[in-house]
Point group: C2
Chain length 183, copies 2
């Protein structure tokens, strides 16, 4: 997010049809909650289009890339890797360490979110396996809570560039305004 | 959650097939992140079964109920209503007020999460329309961040009753232990 070291999200696994919306929601959540980019599996082209369409309309910067080799991304990542899993260490126990690496150490963070089954390599490749609770729930929920805690709520204040519209927060009702082109 | 006033979640709308996993993830997220119960539409019986199965195995208390009349639930709710919507007031601006009502005022909270289209009645019925960002993303992500902030992380420490298994947090790997019956 802006002046901080990069935060990227890697979505592992995608079963066309069944996972369409989950993968899309991973991408949209990554964008809305302050990540700089997301990699999704190369069979999830529809999700890529949806997230890019939202970025075109509501702003960025945010990039979505397809990958046919998540292993290469894990191997080549120049920074720290956080794998979100219900089997991992408790987020409340490790978040300070991750903060320190990211903000004080200037380390980019790759956040890995799986679908049903994640290979053991990923657990080994990760610097931290982190449980947002050790309960089964949702990779989208886990990602959201993780990012909100990583950025300590600052992601809620971010500005969006090159948006063509903006939602105006309201007590009741819906208001969307066009955004003047600021360059 | 335990000694606090009740927090319930109401899921509006469910298109069978298309919304199966989103509705299930709303239910599982509500459970994992400290809500006491969830209502889901009566055509989402499959999601109910999945969430109940997880509760049987990993513990509770947590209840899942089907409803054919979300309007009646909104009308009859004895407490405050928070509707999560990208058009609402910014969570960072209203969360203190909601905290105060819930904890100091002892008010039960009903958190309403929609699917695609939410009728205007809901905006009017709500005490707060709240945006977890004013960006389009995921009702599951919005619910997760909202609950984590409402409970200020205490939901991560909750104990589970009547579980038959428990995940043991680990740096690397997966460990699930049977739980002795504590009654």
């Amino acid at each position: 997010m802006h002046d901080e070291p990069e935060v990227a999200v890697l979505r592992l696994g995608h079963r066309p049809g069944r996972d369409e919306r989950m993968t899309t929601h991973v991408g949209l959540t990554a964008r809305a909650l302050g990540a700089d980019r997301v990699w999704i599996p190369d069979n999830a082209g529809q999700s890529k289009e949806t997230v890019e369409d939202i970025t075109d309309r509501f702003g960025g910067p945010f990039s979505v890339e397809l990958t046919d080799s998540p292993k290469a991304i894990l191997r080549d990542w120049d920074g720290r890797i956080v794998h979100l899993t219900m089997y991992g260490e408790r987020i409340q126990d490790v978040e300070d360490e991750i903060h320190t690496a990211h903000r004080d150490g200037g380390e980019p963070i790759l956040v890995v979110v799986g679908s049903e089954k994640v290979s053991f390599d990923v657990y080994e490749e990760a610097d931290w396996n982190v449980g947002v609770t050790n309960q089964p729930h949702s990779e989208v929920a886990g990602l959201a809570v993780f990012l909100d805690r990583l950025f300590e709520g600052h992601e809620l204040e971010r500005e969006w560039a090159n948006a063509d519209r903006r939602v105006v927060p309201m007590e009741t009702g819906k208001r969307v305004e066009p955004v003047e082109d600021e360059g």
